[in-house]
């Protein structure tokens, strides 16, 4: 089985600063791979480079295709659902229009996402800009799950949310991972331990650790790599 994503010697420079300095890792097909690291080490930039949203050099393979220099929309159409760090719902559009925009075929699973997030159905005609942070995150996740995508890139879904919502989103992702590969960026170690099968740790624009989820049970390692207490 090939990897869902394979990144090798990835470099990214933005406005003169060399943000990714030769990142290499792979995401095995199936399950959840967590991309970890302190704030500002380049996790979001890595996802954006995979999607072709920032210029990069190096090799990027997505779902069996070499996608360097591809336009973003072609990469995404290989079968990617993306939940960006800042939700990025379109605030001037209604919930329904946000979903319609994401729809890539007639097979869009509106019933599934509405049963996951009934609130979105009730608020279908509300402008997304007037939703709460949690509701916006629901919409952002729903957008990614609407089409049956083999690969999900999810960037800090729990950021700034109440614990109850965090665990709700974790369950949603857990279920999604049953038939999709998930590359998850997450700061909440509890969520990571619950979901992740594999971990990749970035620091200063380089991969400093690769391993199984069990590695996170070693508090010393966690402290060294992530600078947080391992007992979260």
């Amino acid at each position: 089985m090939t990897d869902a994503v394979a990144v090798s010697d990835l470099h990214v420079s933005i406005a003169g600063s060399h943000i990714l300095q030769g990142v290499s890792f792979n995401v095995p097909t199936g399950g959840v791979t967590a991309l970890l690291g302190r704030n500002g080490v380049g996790k979001t930039t890595t996802l954006r480079a995979i999607l072709g949203l920032v210029a990069s050099s190096g090799q990027i393979q997505v779902l069996g295709h070499d996608v360097e220099n591809w336009p973003t929309h072609r990469i995404v159409r290989l079968g990617i659902g993306y939940v960006p760090e800042d939700r990025d719902v379109f605030s001037a559009l209604t919930v329904e229009q946000n979903l319609r925009l994401a729809e890539s075929s007639a097979a869009a699973r509106y019933d599934d996402v509405f049963s996951l997030f009934p609130e979105l159905k009730q608020r279908a005609r509300q402008r997304a800009g007037t939703l709460s942070g949690g509701q916006q995150q629901m919409l952002s996740i729903a957008r990614a799950l609407l089409n049956d995508r083999p690969l999900l890139l999810v960037d800090e879904p729990s950021k700034g949310l109440a614990p109850k919502l965090v665990s709700e989103f974790a369950s949603v992702l857990e279920r999604a991972a049953e038939h999709s590969t998930v590359l998850l960026v997450e700061q909440n170690l509890g969520v990571v331990k619950r979901l992740a099968d594999h971990v990749v740790v970035l620091d200063h624009g380089e991969v400093v650790h690769r391993g199984g989820a069990g590695d996170l049970d070693d508090p010393a390692l966690v402290r060294r790599l992530l600078g947080v207490a391992g007992a979260a």
């Binding site: 929309h73 001037a92 925009l101």
Partner: protein
């Protein structure tokens, strides 16, 4: 009082044309961050194409059919010119907003130069049917029919545009792209097509504005630089209304058109004040910028 109403009506008609000229510009800027300097050129191309149609086709068609065809041709001509511009000149420069402005400046100069070479720099006359010159009597007022034409065109375009942006898939893509272009791409949508589309739409409205301005306000005369002078007012309207906002453009166009007409009618007659109409619009721009830099309906710029 009756004079006041006539002036008001003419100001509204002028506003309608400013709206046609400005809303495409605003949409293009909102979606693509491109200041399209060639927008004035699209107006001029529309006007000249209209002139070609109205003068080349046999007069047996009858004046009303000729002017209708000219207006349709001007609209299509502006759309085609804009579409080609986007594909050939703007597309290779994606991600370089300054170069995109520069290339439209170069295009404008080159094409206006070409028009001067081909048609001469003196104004040409578009033949129009008599009823367009005559006024309609309402009560004790005589309102020029041409003003009704401008107003009608403005209202129809506003309604169609609002419908298109609110209801159609491409309209929604455009609105989403105005807000966050990258995220539209990340949903697997080819934003480039939406870019071409807004250029085509903007160009169509510009072509329409170009010929209507000639027919309604400049005594049926067209010249190679007319579009560029209109463009300045379109800029003023876009900034006052808020970049990227169609409704903002509509309101600002109305305000600017009225202000310009009132000031030139009531003040412009005094010697040395002939340009007050034009000047007042810039003054309004300065006031709006001091009070609300993002414009009436705009996001932060």
């Amino acid at each position: 009082m009756s004079a006041f109403l006539v002036i008001t009506f003419s100001g509204i008609a002028l506003g309608a044309i400013y709206f046609l000229a400005a809303s495409g510009l605003s949409l293009i800027y909102g979606l693509m961050d491109v200041l399209n300097f060639a927008h004035g050129l699209f107006m001029t191309i529309g006007a000249y194409l209209g002139w070609e149609i109205a003068t080349r086709l046999p007069s047996s068609f009858g004046a009303p059919a000729l002017i209708t065809l000219a207006i349709v041709g001007a609209t299509l001509g502006g759309a085609v010119a804009a579409g080609i511009t986007e594909l050939v000149l703007i597309r290779p420069l994606y991600g370089k907003p300054i170069s995109q402005i520069l290339v439209t400046i170069g295009l404008d100069l080159a094409a206006v130069g070409l028009l001067m070479g081909g048609f001469g720099s003196t104004a040409l006359q578009i033949p129009v049917p008599l009823w367009l010159i005559e006024p309609t009597r309402i009560g004790s007022m005589f309102l020029p029919n041409a003003n009704f034409l401008a107003l009608g065109a403005g209202v129809v375009v506003l309604v169609v545009l609002e419908w298109f942006l609110a209801r159609t898939r491409y309209g929604i893509i455009i609105r989403a792209g105005v807000e966050n272009r990258e995220m539209v791409r990340a949903l697997g949508i080819d934003v480039g097509r939406a870019f071409t589309l807004v250029f085509v739409i903007g160009g169509a409205m510009a072509g329409l504005a170009g010929i209507l301005y000639a027919v309604v306000f400049s005594g049926d005369l067209i010249s190679p630089t007319q579009g560029d002078s209109l463009l300045i007012f379109a800029f003023i309207v876009v900034v006052i209304g808020g970049l990227g906002s169609i409704r903002g453009s509509a309101v600002a166009a109305l305000v600017v058109g009225l202000l310009q007409d009132y000031t030139s009618f009531y003040i412009g007659g005094h010697s040395g004040w002939a340009q007050i109409g034009n000047l007042s619009t810039v003054l309004l721009l300065a006031v709006v910028l001091e009070w609300r830099p993002r414009g009436l309906f705009g996001r932060v710029v």
